[in-house]
C-alpha cells in the first residue's frame, strides 16, 4: 500500500509498504531517515521515539497505515523544530544554510546540551532520548528531577548510567532560562 504523511514538515510518500509494517521501518528503510533507532521492536527501549502529531510514541508500535495523513517529527528535524519554536522560520534557516566543513552544524539546544554534558557514549539511545527530552522541555521548561526521570522512563541507555543524561536535560533547561 501507499502511505502519505508529513515528516519534519515535509510531505512524504512511501510505496509498496507492507500492511503490517511499522512506522519505524518506513522511516528508516523507505524514507532514508535512520536517525530513529531500532533495538527492541517491542516498545521497551524508546530508541525509536518520534512525535506523532506532536505526541511522543514508539515508532516501532505504530502501524505504517496509522501514520497516513499525520505529522511525524524525528530527530532529524529536531534542530528545525527547536528553531521554529524559538521564533525563526525554517525558510529563513534554509536560506542561511551553508555547507559546513568545520562540522559546526547547527543543533537544537537539547542536542548541544547532551554533547556538552557528556551524555552521549555509543549514541544508540540518543535520538530517542533527544526527542523525549525536547518534548518535555517544550511543555515543562523548568522540570524537577522527578519530572525528568518520569519523562525519560521509557528510554533505556546501556552506557551512561543516566546521570549525565539528567545533567544534560538540566543544562538545557538552565540555558533556556538564562536566554529568556
Amino acid at each position: 500500500m501507499r502511505v502519505t504523511f508529513t515528516v519534519n514538515g515535509r510531505p512524504q510518500e512511501a510505496d509498496d509498504v507492507w500492511e503490517g509494517e511499522s512506522l519505524l521501518y518506513v522511516l528508516r528503510e523507505r524514507l532514508g531517515l535512520p536517525g530513529s533507532k531500532n533495538a527492541c521492536e517491542q516498545g521497551e527501549c524508546g530508541s525509536c521515539t518520534v512525535r506523532l502529531d506532536g505526541v511522543p510514541v514508539c515508532a516501532c508500535l505504530v502501524a505504517a497505515g496509522q501514520a497516513e495523513g499525520r505529522e511525524v517529527g524525528t530527530v532529524e528535524g529536531l534542530a528545525d523544530h527547536a528553531a521554529r519554536r524559538a521564533g525563526g522560520t525554517s525558510a529563513d534557516r534554509a536560506r542561511q544554510w551553508r555547507p559546513d566543513p568545520a562540522d559546526t552544524v547547527e543543533l537544537a539546544p537539547v542536542q548541544r546540551a547532551f554533547i556538552d554534558a557528556g551524555a552521549v557514549q555509543c549514541g544508540f539511545c540518543t535520538p530517542g532520548l533527544l526527542v523525549a527530552a525536547d518534548e518535555l522541555l517544550e511543555h515543562n521548561p523548568d522540570p524537577s528531577d522527578a519530572d525528568i526521570r518520569e519523562a525519560l522512563s521509557g528510554n533505556l541507555c546501556r552506557c551512561t548510567g543516566y546521570e549525565k543524561i539528567l545533567d544534560a536535560v538540566r543544562l538545557a533547561a538552565a540555558r533556556a532560562a538564562e536566554g529568556d
Binding site: E19, G20, Q42, G43, L61, A63, Q66, A151, S153, G154
Partner: protein
Amino acid sequence: MDFLRPADWEEALAAKAEHPSAVPIAGGTDVMVEINFDHRRPEHLLDLSRIGELHEWDADGPDVRLGAAVPYARIIDHLHTELPGLALAAHTVGSPQIRNRGSVGGNLGAASPAGDSHPALLAAGAEVEAQSVRGTRLIPVEEFYTGVKRNALAPDELIRAVHIRKATGPQQFSKVGTRNAMVIAVCAFGIALHPESRTVRTGIGSAAPTPVRAGVAEEFLAAALAEAGCWDSGAPVPPSVAREFAELASGACNPIDDVRGSAAYRRRAVAVMARRTLGWVWEEYRGTQGRGTLCA
C-alpha cells in the same frame, strides 16, 4: 494482509461483520509487538485510530462513558477525579510513550490477566459496551474476562466504550514489579470504597487465569465495618478485620508460578497489598468524615 481504514464507527462495525477475523488495532501497543515478532499474521488489520468518538469520553451522569481508544495519558490528565483508581493504574502502565498510545479498550481486547486496567475497573464497577451491526450490549466487566487472554466479545463485535462508575469514595491501586516503569505486574490490587452503599469492591490482577474480584473478602469487610459502626464513626478499621480481609483477598487468588514470581509469593503479595490499600482508602475516608471516635 489488508489494512482496513474505516473512517467512522458504522464503517468499522460493517468491516468487522464482513471480516470477523480482522484484528482491530487501536494504540497498537499489544498488536504491533505480536506482528513485529511474527506471532500474529492477521489477514486484516482494522485500524480504529481514525474514529473520533473512540477517543472521546462523556462524564455527565453517574458513569463515565470512556471511548475504547482514549489513551492512558488522557485518563491520567483529565479523569483522575472521576476515576481515581483507573488513573492510578494507568500511571503504572509502561512508559510515557506507551501511555500516549495504549488504551483501556486495547487492555480489554487483549484480556491479559496482568492488564492494569482490570483491577481498577472491577473495583469501581464497570460495563463494557460491545457493539456489532446486530446491536449493542453492556457486559458487566466481571463477565467480560472468560479465560487467559480471552474475552466475551463475539467475532463481529467491537468495544465502543467502557461505562465506569464515577468514584463516590476513595480508591487505590497497587502493583508489584521490579521497578516503577515498564513493568508487567507480578500481581496487582485495586480497591474502591462505595460509602453511599457502604460496600467495598476489589480487583485482583495477575494472580488467577483472569482478573477477579475478591468477593468473599468484600462481603466480610462490608459486614464487619457495618457491625462496628465504622462508616458513621469514621473510626479506624480494627486490625483484626484488616488482617482477615487480607487473608480472604489472598484466598481469592489462583496464581501460577512463572518467570515473574511464584504462586506463593503472589498470594502473600496480594494479602499485603489488600491490607495496605485498605489502610490508605480508609484513612482518606476518615479524613473526609472528620476523624471519629473509636469503633463502637
